[in-house]
Symmetry: C2
């Protein structure tokens, strides 16, 4: 296992010296003259030297079924479910550590020092641009997944990880993709599904866009698609390749996988075999917008042009589509719609105006009848500068209330789901130059949790008042706090997976 | 050291299982109870597990100075020099293996099986698009560098490599970048210089291009710039970061580094310190076009718009610029101009016509007076479909003859340097769907060597007649055969570095 101390010493990309010469100058070829035990080590060492992207498996770190049973057994959607509320209470018979919470930090392949407040390349890009750039190209863009005692995470370092939820020790690491991984792994049965793609357009796509033709995101700039991995070992079972990027998290539901791409396709494939069931071309680009699949319907949002679609989950037929006047840029393709109580909630940057030489937008939040696509209400979340990169806040719905942020004006807000009435606004402190408010909040046992910048906050969900906070360092990108029992699990842009007790964030919490 | 056999077993990305549990289930934490020698191994193993991008150094594989002295001592330009002729005879006192040539294959981090004729993701992209995609995003886009007994290579797998030229064993591997490396490492003194960038545009750049504004390539989609590494250890000495990509190979000359970027900047920086000396903004985009620095002048070519520039090497002032009517797409920014005998030679795709529904172009080859930029002559190399990705052939000049390919019609041709008279045309056999003819040929001891597709050819330089060939597998992208004594060194898109005796390609060669 990799100890925390070793992990901490291993963080800076490219500045760590490994003299892999084993015992002095004998080199790792000394295996030939070593004892059997040594030979096995030498062999492992040589394989890791030859193939740094090799899958690594440490089965002894897999939690026992005795522990696993207290955890969620499946993970179907980005941000856990169609409501985007990643909160899981544990039963009273769960072990004490699950109730009280654990604390660990796991350094992924490129882990940037948590104590460094500046993103990689801040000196080149400036702070405003460097922050989203490290989120998109360096560490974990979104949150993590916790299933059966295992934390699954995806990173722009090209690896997917499985980590023991109690100890923070690596179970496996797999890089079957040769590409950035930007979503949450979804899990069903013994399979983890990851989707891959990157945000770039090649020059041919640039020219097509300029000529008012559809421009495919990710084509010829990455190896795109959905990958099925064995949940125990990270071994690649199959891959469904696509031409456009598949950055956003897929959905696994009732034996099928649903996902959308940078070429405007929405796919349904068999979750066991990877065979196509249907493939509907709607046009436009899915960026980081994941789908919700509820009651036999698929809700998905794409940009360029910006539309929220409802498709029949069985046939892929488009049932309705809806948008809002003035939505711009990638907003509609960035945000994942949330669904609860037969209402679909979506937001997108809209209504661009240049004010004092600066591009500004106002985020429009809207609720739609899930059955027929009629808009129930709209609300303006507030005007501010057009944010860099991901341009919205992922909405979460709990008990007829929407909790949602906006990086345009760096707020979190609560709205009545039925009538769109604003309940409160909380201004994120120290929001930073790139704006705060992208990740979905989590509602857990009467408290709202938000991870933004380097900090996790606990808020009173009725007032937005801050109850407590913990600063872990780095930056949480489009990250939701995943709460299981007494622990909050997160991934961050600095390329770390972190666990911290709920009680450290919320002093009023007593697991 | 990594043996060839081990390397061969380690090739398929993501399908190799490493059970890093050392001796059975004791796991690598067993180090605590092991002997001191074992502890060191365990520590190394744990570090490699924690940080796959860690620098690896095997100093015992560094060649002795006794061997090093028979090799080139510096490497200033892409394709070796301003003429792009990477041919180095060895003295009669050189060891026999240098004269007769060596054969080895070094598998880089993602090495794709050489025997597989299809590129990664052929089933998704189709053969025509998959070939350049694997060149741009998977393996080695260009050739290698051979200095003092060491082969230096860069790969899209994010690593730079130093390999023993005799044995093919790894000396070091370094990944200080978190980005694709697409050029030739250049070497001066004890420093290796690599430049980094990727071909993607972000959505903001796409919108700017559509609005007829300058679009920066690589901005916010990669970590760009020039990196200085210790030639013995791969240790990062300093980095000069840039906003636009720096895909193309820099030039190191007389203590200065010259390079151009995807934001239209041409830089001169101090080769020892990385401090800026001058920075000239000319606009447009440098893609894969490397500079030539000759007689105090910098020659560099950019696209969008396409111009060949001459700058004063001391001040960065533009002395002249020239183009050809009808040059299109990235052609001018792809090809590196060659310079010899006070003449600059350049080619670019031009004169687009849709014929039978297909986009076609004709490659224009032209020669320019290096002093004043006057065009001396132009020639049309032939019409064909617009090639995917890199859109020209890198010209090489030897003894007043230009040898140059064109992927438009998959030919290599020879032209008289002074008057542009066509001397011969050779049609590349089995050129494949992406076209052949991108890499610079190499003239060595009366024979012309060309690496294209999976094959190295020996041609009669007076007639273009094939004298022999060797097929090594994989695909050579924009790769020139680097010849030192009796060995040809190459990198390929399948992520391998290869060495083969000249005599295997050319049956008439007797080292």
């Amino acid at each position: 296992m990799i100890t925390k101390r070793q992990a901490f010493t291993a963080f800076v990309l490219g500045t760590m010296l490994i003299t892999a010469s084993g015992c002095g100058q004998q080199s790792v070829s000394a295996a030939n003259s070593a004892k059997p035990c040594d030979k096995q080590l030498f062999t492992t060492l040589n394989r890791l030297l030859a193939n740094p992207f090799a899958r690594v498996v440490l089965p002894q770190n897999m939690p026992s079924s005795r522990i696993a049973k207290y955890f969620p057994v499946t993970w179907t959607h980005a941000y856990a479910n169609a409501q985007h509320n990643a909160a899981f209470a544990v039963s009273s018979s769960a072990p004490a550590w699950m109730k009280h919470g654990v604390s660990w930090s796991f350094s992924e392949a490129r882990a940037w020092p948590l104590s460094n407040p500046n993103a990689y390349d801040t000196s080149v890009y400036g702070a405003r641009s460097a922050l989203p750039t490290i989120t998109q190209f360096y560490g974990n863009a979104t949150g993590v997944t916790v299933v059966k005692g295992v934390v699954y995470a995806e990173s722009d370092d090209d690896f997917a990880y499985a980590i023991n939820a109690k100890t923070g020790h690596l179970i496996w690491r797999s890089s079957p993709v040769g590409n950035h991984l930007m979503g949450d792994p979804v899990v069903s049965g013994n399979i983890v599904y990851i989707s891959a793609g990157s945000v770039g357009f090649n020059f041919s796509a640039v020219q097509k866009y300029a000529a008012h033709q559809p421009a495919v995101r990710g084509e010829h700039v990455s190896f795109n698609g959905v990958y099925a991995l064995n949940a125990q070992t990270g071994k690649l079972l199959w891959r469904y390749g696509t031409v456009g990027e598949a950055m956003a998290t897929p959905v696994v539901k009732d034996g099928d996988i649903y996902f959308a791409t940078g070429s405007g396709h929405i796919h349904c494939i068999n979750a066991s075999t990877g065979q196509s069931i249907w493939d509907t071309f709607v046009g436009g680009i899915d960026n980081m917008s994941s789908l919700s699949v509820v009651n036999g319907k698929v809700y998905v949002s794409l940009s360029v042009p910006g539309w929220l679609y409802c498709l029949d989950a069985k046939t892929g037929q488009v049932i309705w589509k809806v948008t809002q006047p003035g939505v711009v840029n990638t907003g509609m393709g960035d945000v994942s719609p949330a669904v609860a109580d037969h209402i679909v909630v979506m937001d997108a940057v809209a209504d661009p105006k240049v004010i004092a030489g600066q591009k500004t937008v106002n985020t429009v939040l809207f609720a739609v009848n899930a059955q027929n696509g009629h808009v129930l209400w709209t609300a303006k979340m507030g005007r501010g500068p057009l944010p860099p990169a991901f341009k919205g806040g992922v909405p979460m719905i709990h008990d007829h209330v929407i909790y949602v942020g906006s990086p345009v004006n760096s707020v979190y807000q609560a709205y009545n789901l039925t009538n769109g009435r604003l309940l409160w606004t909380w201004h994120v402190p120290h929001a930073g130059p790139a704006g705060a408010g992208r990740g979905a909040p989590t509602y857990y046992q009467g408290t709202l949790y938000v991870s933004t910048g380097p900090t996790i906050y606990a808020l009173n969900p009725r007032t937005g008042q801050v109850l407590g906070h913990e600063t872990l360092g780095g930056r949480f990108g489009i990250v939701n706090p995943v709460i299981v029992g007494g622990t909050i699990y997160l991934g961050n842009s600095w390329d770390w997976v972190l666990a911290t007790p709920v009680s450290r964030v919320n002093p009023f919490y007593h697991g």
